[in-house]
Symmetry: C2
Subunit: 228 residues, 2 copies
């Protein structure tokens, strides 16, 4: 194994708490900020599906997020000035990491190439890394390969960019579906349980649903299991 | 100014001394290793010109380097096993930085986004960064934008990936031609004098040939000028 590729939203950062906080900041305390965050996030997969299906050319996640945000604001009957809409959309560039992420990544980086393999665009992931201190070796993911996970090209082209065989790469994610797609491409897999990603009543991805290469409850534990 | 984009070969790393050392290691002491390095490097621009002209689809620098290496080995009448040819081609992944590069970049990173805007491919630049401790925020350059400098798309698409206006970006390079192309795209410019890039008898790029935004003799001096 030479490279560890990380899912980011949910696996490395706590998008729900971070987005809810920014919604409160921009829209005020009367808005149900967690419902707003959940609804915004619920439009993520359908928006990318337009690209994956070929109905739409590759479009950066920042653009998809902004389109979804306008719909959610309308549904919640909230009017914001354009500069505040833009600021709220940038909330995805400032997500907070889970407490174990920076220590775990810092340990893993001593032995492996570490990079995001996220559907986030490069500037989103770069700003997030700079803000949160995520010590990536490179910013990879959907934008450099022009393909959204779980399309096989997202994984295979990332391995190719790194000059590695898929078997030299491991996908690290809190989502069984992401790991299943990576495994189909020949990647090793590590499941990181994040039972609070969707809040206290989360029902999905509570446990590993297949025999992934590693099962851990934090990125720090993964570093321990890999001997870093 | 928000992002500093760096030329790498010659500006951040001393390719000539590093390549000559690897040539000696792989080919033995009887080869004129500096002449070999110079000849190999001389095929760099013509190889990229095939892509820039549209005669060839975008092809990674690792591939262009390997094709050129086979020609140079033949010209020098050197026979190497395939695994040693591959190892020698990887020499570009292990180039040593100039002494001021790591300290300077480390200071600049506290205030700016720093990334390579190099014609090197992602895995070449990533391996080099990991080996030399170059603290990039992201690995940008020809491969993510599928265009070789000095094609305008190499600069303009990089600014676009970063979500920045060209005027928010500064190109840092030891080569006047690179800075001229970046300036034409609206970038700010910093000339770093590297009078030994081509050895003691260098005749080109000894001085700034236009009124670039900054003129310095090291990346550390650039950090000082920018107040880092």
């Amino acid at each position: 194994m030479k490279a560890l590729l990380f899912d980011v939203f949910g696996t490395v950062v706590d998008w729900r708490t971070s987005i809810a906080r920014e919604v409160r900041n921009q829209c005020g305390p009367d808005v149900d900020s967690f419902s707003f965050a959940d609804r915004w996030r619920s439009m993520y997969q359908p928006a990318m599906e337009e690209v994956r299906s070929g109905r739409r050319p590759f479009t950066r996640l920042d653009v998809l997020h902004l389109e979804s945000l306008r719909v959610v604001l309308s549904e919640f009957d909230i009017r914001l000035a354009e500069d505040r809409i833009a600021a709220l959309n940038q909330a995805w560039h400032r997500l907070d990491p889970w407490p174990d992420s920076v220590p775990g990544l810092t340990r893993l980086r001593t032995e492996f190439i570490i990079a995001p393999l996220s559907n986030g665009n490069i500037s989103l992931l770069l700003d997030m890394a700079k803000n949160a201190g995520l010590p990536w070796d490179a910013i990879l993911g959907a934008e450099p390969v022009q393909a959204y996970k779980p399309t096989p090209d997202a994984y295979l082209r990332t391995a190719d960019i790194l000059g590695l065989e898929p078997s030299e790469c491991m996908m690290v994610a809190a989502h069984n579906s992401d790991l299943a797609a990576a495994a189909d491409c020949g990647f090793a897999t590590a499941f990181v349980a994040r039972p609070l990603e969707h809040g206290p009543s989360q029902t999905t991805d509570l446990v590993a649903e297949a025999d992934w290469t590693y099962h851990v409850d934090s990125i720090d534990s993964l570093a321990t299991q890999l001997g870093c």
